[in-house]
């Protein structure tokens, strides 16, 4: 049977190259003209913990996981124990027969491969994972030359010896399972390659968007899930003329970023919730001193240390309101790598144009999962540095009261004038002041930026047909999962649509309220305990969504869970009606 909906999962101890293997499979799929989506689970350990990557390979666009495993590749026994239950009739296990003993299970292909022996013969035990990938492709009756090309491009930088060793290892694995005459009957097809398609995770996408927009400076203290932003940018420093620093803590990170921005460099910092706690004083400083600032907040399980490598959307409330006092801010919650690139590019423009902090809210799932996307066309995107100037004269004053609330920003070092920035309330010249009249005019100056800003931001997008039986509300990384759920629902004849909230602050209250007017039933999907977006929507639109699908176990949603919830709502007329009644509250 030929199927183009295949899930290969690979597990082993941390350090065994599990993520790399998943990546390799995804690249193989891309080179075969297929779509793939890879998500990984790993504990907060460097070695010895259980690492697990799932690659969902499909013919049509899919960017989510699904509730099955077709091939479980087990580099250790624990992988089998932990994931056996997810196997079904017709699935297969490929395992290292040198170290694991498995008994026959009815309906499941048990395919032992001496991974350790083959790896050692081919160049070293370290490449056991490559043997295993070869074996998986072999079992799927895949094309070895595609795998060979994929290995070559993957190890290109490591030299011919490493390439040869991996190709040898993969070939042996491939031959082992290909000739095994097994009862496993799934096979992987090959389609026309689309050269516009690429694989990308959220963090890399943010880096690309930032570099494209002219990023110059980044200061980032390592923290899952944003650490790879630090690594990525640091590796590109010399190619793109960036200065990327790992400072002593998140406080220093945000303050250095603000300092660099004051000097005129487009600057970025990134952290997770724990680090963002430390950054809040800097957020207020940027708001008060009117310094453009871009902060990436990659959410993970909280509060406190919680489950450091698990995904969650529980910092929405926090980023919306973090900091004392009142100041304008922008919060963006991109839903996939394509949106990450564009949102980051826009974030720098908005920060410069409105001279305020912009927060890009992502999560562990989006940050580190590999999506298949179409290469974005960025040719029309323009850099807008706002009212920035390097020529001052005797009349220059930094905080001049302007109609739109945004004053011209002279960069220090500009001949003929000096500039000021101040965390205290200040007059137009930037001198400390607690004069009530000045206070009022300066507060109004800063806060009115929001009005113009709100006019400029795009409306939220409603995916699917307008006239649907149910509207699903969501934000951030749940986008692609919900979109995949819509396809499943469609197959069952259920018409649902999805309202994606990307620009979270300022909130498009009017547009969202309008959506409710056409909504027959509503469901909101969030990765948190209390429904933070649900509350936020209610506070700004007066509309209450009673049907909530919430998850806070550190794992992402599966489209199937959403389908099930939608069906249960539509099968219970009272539930579906609840939201409609609320409108008359």
């Amino acid at each position: 049977m030929e199927s183009q909906n295949i899930v290969v999962a690979i597990g082993g101890v941390a350090g065994a190259g599990i993520m790399e293997s998943g990546h390799l499979l995804a690249k193989y799929a891309l080179a075969s003209g297929l779509f793939s989506f890879m998500a990984s689970e790993y504990p907060s350990l460097i070695r010895g913990g259980h690492n697990f990557a799932m690659v969902h390979i499909t013919e049509n666009e899919t960017n989510s996981l699904t509730q099955k495993i077709d091939i479980l590749v087990a580099l250790n026994e624990q992988t089998v124990k932990l994931h056996e239950r997810e196997l079904k009739e017709g699935s297969a296990i490929i395992y290292d027969s040198d170290i694991i003993e498995l008994e026959k299970v009815d309906g499941i292909t048990i395919q032992g491969v001496p991974l350790t022996t083959i790896a050692k013969e081919s160049g070293g035990e370290i490449i056991r994972n490559t043997v295993a990938i070869g074996a998986a492709i072999g079992l799927l009756k895949g094309n070895f030359s595609i795998l060979e090309e994929t290995l070559k491009s993957t190890f290109e930088k490591k030299g011919q010896e490493v390439i040869d060793m991996n190709v040898r290892a993969a070939l042996k694995g491939y031959r082992f399972t290909q000739g095994a005459g097994s009862s496993f009957d799934l096979s992987i097809k090959h389609k026309q390659i689309d050269s516009q398609r690429i694989l990308l995770n959220g963090n890399d996408a943010i880096c690309i968007g930032a570099i494209r927009s002219g990023l110059k400076f980044a200061a980032i203290y390592p923290m899952t899930p944003v650490t790879s932003i630090l690594d990525y940018l640091a590796a590109e420093q010399n190619n793109f003329n960036l200065v990327v620093k790992e400072p002593e803590d998140e406080i220093s990170a945000i303050i250095m970023t603000i300092g660099a921005s004051y000097s005129g460099a487009r600057s970025l910092t990134a952290t997770s919730g724990g680090g963002f706690c430390l950054m809040t004083e800097g957020l207020g400083l940027a708001g008060m001193a009117e310094i453009p600032l871009v902060v990436v907040e990659g959410m993970r399980s909280g509060p406190s240390s919680a489950m450091p490598t698990k995904t969650e959307q529980s910092d929405l409330d926090f980023v919306l309101y973090a900091g004392h006092g009142e100041f304008p801010r922008i919060v963006l919650a991109p839903g996939d790598p394509t949106e990450c690139i564009e949102a980051t590019f826009n974030a720098f423009n908005l920060a410069d144009k409105y001279q305020l902090p912009v927060i890009i809210l992502t999560d562990k799932y989006l940050a580190s999962s590999l999506y298949t996307i179409n290469k974005p066309d960025m040719s029309e995107w323009k850099i807008d540095r706002g009212k920035i100037t390097t020529s001052g004269n005797e009349t220059y004053s930094r905080y001049e009261l302007e109609e739109d609330g945004v004053s011209s920003r002279l960069l220090p070092g500009s001949p003929g004038a000096v500039t000021h920035a101040d965390s205290y309330e200040h007059d137009a010249l930037g001198r400390d002041s607690d004069d009530p009249t000045i206070r009022i005019s300066m507060m109004e100056k800063r806060m009115k930026k929001i009005n113009n800003l709100a006019k400029e931001l795009p409306e939220p997008i409603l995916y699917g047909e307008k006239d649907a039986e149910i509207t699903i509300f969501g934000w951030g990384s749940n986008k692609s999962i919900i979109l995949d759920a819509l396809k499943l629902l469609d197959k069952e004849g259920i018409k649902a649509n999805y309202l994606h909230l990307l620009y979270v602050m300022p909130f498009p209250a009017y547009e969202v309220a309008k959506i409710f007017d056409h909504t027959k039933a509503a469901l909101i999907v969030e990765n948190n305990y209390s429904g933070q977006m649900t509350r936020y929507i209610r506070s700004l639109t007066g509309r209450r969504i009673t049907n909530k699908l919430l998850k806070f176990d550190g794992r992402p949603f599966l489209p199937e869970e959403i389908v099930k919830k939608v069906k249960s709502i539509l099968n219970t007329p009272l539930k579906a009606q609840a939201d409609i009644k609320e409108k008359n509250d």
């Binding site: 002219g214 420093q237 620093k245 303050i255 000097s263 460099a265 400083l285 220090p412 920035a421």
Partner: protein
């Protein structure tokens, strides 16, 4: 505002108490900047929060008044984005050694070319007189009614141990000497810190001008002292009590942070490739 004649004065109303050590610091600083012949627009004065940090309002250069304890990271960010600027950070003993104590260690070990000036009045002045990390033991204040039981830290010893390439102790009672120290610190190529013993007439009745007058002596008068010798510096910096050396305690040369960043050898960050960057190759890999 206009670029003034290089006297760095402005008309802002000064709010310090008469007799405050900050007057000496500001005079010495302006004098040093004049001596160095720097242009106001090439200087950034970054301020912490405290009485001392008000200084940013009274010197006509580029300024950024930031947050309590955070002037050092602020100054570093400003410097890294435009290393042609002369960046001077000013703060008090509370902000720099308590709230932001961590930052000194790292700025010093980076040898980033900024100058940190500390108004060390051994008290939290702006908040009306609480004990600070440099308050002497038994210092009586609101939170320490029976006197502090903590030992004071020696900030310059900490800076030296962290790899600072220029450390100096100044005294507000010797304005000419202070100005010379500032000029040397600012023109030093690397991280420099000047800890200025400075009276707070309102909240520190112990460490007054008189108190230090009888205790300080100038290091420059000691011909045998070699400030480039780290071992001697460690010994000298620990001297306290009846004989307190003032002046440059240590000066060494070493590669600055900026010089070790390849990108900055092409020019300042702010001057490099402004405009759209081609990211095609990032998408293609």
């Amino acid at each position: 505002m206009t670029e003034p004649e290089n006297n760095f004065d402005n008309k802002n109303q000064i709010t310090w108490c008469p007799g405050c050590g900050n007057f000496s610091i500001i005079a010495a600083l302006k004098n040093a900047l004049k001596t160095l012949n720097y242009k106001p627009h090439d200087i950034v004065l970054a301020g912490d929060i405290g009485c001392s940090s008000k200084l940013t309002d009274y010197v006509e250069v580029n300024t950024f008044t930031g947050l309590h304890g955070r002037v050092i990271p602020l100054a570093q960010g400003i410097k890294l984005a435009n290393h042609k600027l002369h960046v001077i950070a000013i703060g008090g003993d509370g902000g720099l050694f308590a709230e932001g104590g961590n930052h000194i260690l790292h700025a010093a070990r980076r040898n980033i070319n900024i100058t940190v000036i500390v108004n060390d009045n051994q008290v939290y002045a702006l908040t009306k007189g609480q004990a600070s990390p440099t308050s002497e033991k038994k210092f009586i204040s609101g939170p320490t009614p029976e006197g502090t039981i903590e030992n004071p830290i020696n900030p310059l010893l900490v800076a030296l141990a962290s790899g600072a390439t220029f450390i100096a102790r100044g005294w507000a009672g010797d304005n000419t000497g202070l100005s010379e120290i500032f000029a040397q610190a600012i023109s030093h190529d690397g991280f420099s810190i000047v800890d200025v013993l400075s009276p707070c007439v309102s909240f520190n009745k112990i460490n007054t001008l008189e108190y230090y007058k009888s205790r300080v002596y100038k290091l420059v008068d000691d011909a045998t002292y070699d400030k480039s010798d780290l071992t001697q510096a460690f010994e000298k910096v620990r001297l306290w009590g009846d004989h307190i050396p003032i002046g440059v305690i240590h000066e060494a040369s070493g590669p600055t942070y900026e010089k070790q960043i390849p990108v900055l050898q092409k020019g300042t960050l702010v001057s490099q490739n402004n405009g759209l960057i081609d990211t095609e190759k990032l998408l293609d890999r």
